[in-house]
Symmetry: C2
Subunit: 366 residues, 2 copies
Amino acid sequence: MPDPDTRAYSPGLEGVVAGETELSLVDGEQGRLLYRGYPIGQLVERGTFAQVAELLWSGEWPTQAHLPAGPLPEEVIALLRGLPAETVPMDALRSAVSLWGALTRPQWPPTAEQARALTAFSPSALAAFARLRGGQEPIEPDESLDLAAGFLYQLTGERPDPAAARALDAYFVVGAEHGFNASTFTARVIISTRSDLASAVAGAIGALKGPIHGGAPTEVVNQLHEMGSADQAERWIREAVGRGERIMGFGHRVYRAYDPRAVALRSVAERLTGVADWLAMAVQVEDIALRVLAELKPHRVIKTNVEYYAAAVLQGVGLPPDLFPATFALARHAGWTANCLEQAAANRLIRPAVRYVGPAERSLPA
Amino acid sequence: MPDPDTRAYSPGLEGVVAGETELSLVDGEQGRLLYRGYPIGQLVERGTFAQVAELLWSGEWPTQAHLPAGPLPEEVIALLRGLPAETVPMDALRSAVSLWGALTRPQWPPTAEQARALTAFSPSALAAFARLRGGQEPIEPDESLDLAAGFLYQLTGERPDPAAARALDAYFVVGAEHGFNASTFTARVIISTRSDLASAVAGAIGALKGPIHGGAPTEVVNQLHEMGSADQAERWIREAVGRGERIMGFGHRVYRAYDPRAVALRSVAERLTGVADWLAMAVQVEDIALRVLAELKPHRVIKTNVEYYAAAVLQGVGLPPDLFPATFALARHAGWTANCLEQAAANRLIRPAVRYVGPAERSLPA
């Protein structure tokens, strides 16, 4: 073992390349996000979440794909039924995934079939939780619907508006994968011990739950609510900037040019404005916000980030804000599980070193 | 962002120091393991798991400490009751911890009180699972007993033999903490997003479940069973080595000199041989194995590792082998939660970089 003090020291592992991936390229400088080489804009424009998930799992673009929500074991329904109504949705989802693993016992190595089953299970579980906490019974999945539309159906019992289903599917596509973020890295560390896919995804949900990683999408929703309508947006934004407040949904840590996910979602939203007023408002408010911010903060480059359209879409399809983080987790199942497949295919235990800075050797008090 | 190719590349993060810790020093060269400066031998000899856990959480050695098993919420009992008898115990424990988090909602930042409550909860949950799968009802914790003795009581309904309780407590002490292994690192990554303690420990259990990390203690037990008695150990070992088989429980990846945890557990076992025949056998078989291995493999330094005494103790106290990994997890709760407290006290998101090696940018098929 080398002397600890001569080794690379990187608290937080910033700038340390912990592995290789073929799944996604996050190119902050140029505002590019590629899944296996395909730009996120094309994927949103011409693909569905079912196709994107299969692309991530298999490496091949399927000309068509169908991924309906999965069945809920009665044990999972019993678990969700027993949760207090005030349970944090991410806690409910993490517990449901853990129980799914206990019941189905996915074996090493993780497979695309396991990934498909788990990705299909979680929307049913989250929808059932949302209904049960409101005193309603869960709804069986509709096999004819893909995951995003099926999730909305299981939430409400009604077949969703096509614009809402399309917008949520586009949101699932842009949320599916994004490099070695903390939750994806968690999933890879867990699977690297030759543990199972449910352990990895339950751990990833736990990591995504943290506000540093999962963000605070509720704040964007609150803003849109406070603005009330596009007419009042300009005054609201000017006043907020005047008070020194940050406008949520604009600016990003990684993307300097623009957030390609926001661009892709806007493009879908623009085509749907005729069928959904809330998408029209989101597009109008974005234009106003960018114009006002450019005027008031001319020396800063402020671009729309994915949180803005995420909030607009999730609010627009009728999700209560406290379900936003868990709904993001549903989309990210595709990436988490694809990362597990990739890690397992060329596995190496992920185990960094640590520097001991505690007391020198000493004796217990007599 | 620097060009990816100029950054430190370390798949698996081997040799990358990912942080600092005051909790434990794992010194493989010299065969030392210190918790906050105190050698593991002294801690086992003169301390209890309750004291060691408080030391890890608070940094101070308490002159006395008492840590009884915690109460089980009815929702957790219902969950465990609903699990099929063939459920993997680690899956049951991970699910119980996740549900505990959903019910108790521990807030950021993690606290010693949360750590104590979760470390006290899990033995009750695992014991209840073990009873329920066998058709028996769970047993309420006995507040007068510390965690190791209390766990045995909740498994059997009988107050444990003092030698068994002392041996299991010593096992809990040596299992409490061991640097940045994969499960501890998982817990730190999860808590670094400002997620909660239950999310971190549920993720850590998932990582420990993997056989590369959690090991295969059952194999040592099978050996001890096959030997049958100390009288037959020598012949059994000679024949196994003659067939080219590895003798489980000897040799370690990190410890070159000797595994200080095995030494510490042997010292406890030696003093208890008068009160427990199985501890006497474990000590005798170790002596025989070391003598025979030194004779048959003179050029290799082969020392007893912690797995050997772990198996001897866990088998000796009457645990079924399939509970060994989850029992190890109970002990490691102290270290996982202490690492979460340490991470949170000087938090920095743990998020490495990744190198994209997938296809260059391309267009979807027309």
